[in-house]
Symmetry: C2
């Protein structure tokens, strides 16, 4: 039906990347969804705060490349759940500093444990060298500095 061509859909990188990302997200989702009723943006925010410490919504947004409306709503949810506290910056009263509460810290540590396990189980299918190359390439593609 179709003349021969050097294009194959299953080799197209954006397609492959999306399929792989969807698949891996699905595997990890159940941890934060079932156990804490979180959305993807919520755990990303939680992880950023847990991983890097106190931050403003703005900083999380620019680091994780998440739109500010998504952050705003995620922070509202996390605040409802008493996982983060918001304190106004006294020098610039527009922005507020987000910090994990002890409960938020506990959730973060629990999820981090599962994340680490999940990550390890993925890597187990490949050699150490392959995984290193994958990470390096994905960071490059994602626009994250090494």
């Amino acid at each position: 039906m179709n003349e021969k061509d050097d294009f194959a859909l299953q080799d197209f990188l954006p397609y492959l990347l999306n399929r792989a990302a969807e698949e891996s997200s699905l595997g990890f989702q159940k941890h934060y969804k079932n156990r804490y009723g979180m959305l993807r943006t919520e755990w990303r925010v939680l992880f950023h705060l847990g991983n890097y410490g106190q931050m403003t919504a703005k900083e999380i947004g620019s680091r994780a490349k998440i739109h500010k409306t998504k952050i705003s709503r995620a922070v509202a949810k996390l605040s409802e759940k008493r996982f983060v506290t918001r304190t106004r910056d006294e020098n610039d009263r527009r922005s507020e500093h987000l910090t994990l509460t002890p409960a938020g810290e506990a959730a973060y540590k629990d999820l981090r444990e599962h994340a680490l396990e999940f990550d390890t189980s993925i890597c187990a299918r490949f050699t150490t060298g392959e995984v290193a190359i994958l990470r390096y390439m994905l960071r490059n593609l994602a626009g994250i500095e090494p």
Copy 2:
């Protein structure tokens, strides 16, 4: 603020995969979105039909792991745009065979051109060996047979 730990968010594969996928999607999106007003699922369906020839919605769904409701809506849109025609299977009148119209074929070829270019530009940042490893790993992660 946070005790040392061997977990770093920017190394977590589901996170990296999603970031890389989003970034690369964004780059390609403008072609099918601006030029043809398509959604992601629509171009995927179009590409499947262009790449593999006539298929049913079911087949596309299982190949691309897209839920049937998304396929259904994408096919409806593509049909409105006169990019695909639907013909009932006479032996099993539940399913219908989807085929690209000449207009659909033209759109596919045009987008395929851009896809190829885009893919090439991505690969240019890496060595041939790295790209081969990346594709192999992503196919594995996505659950696509080599």
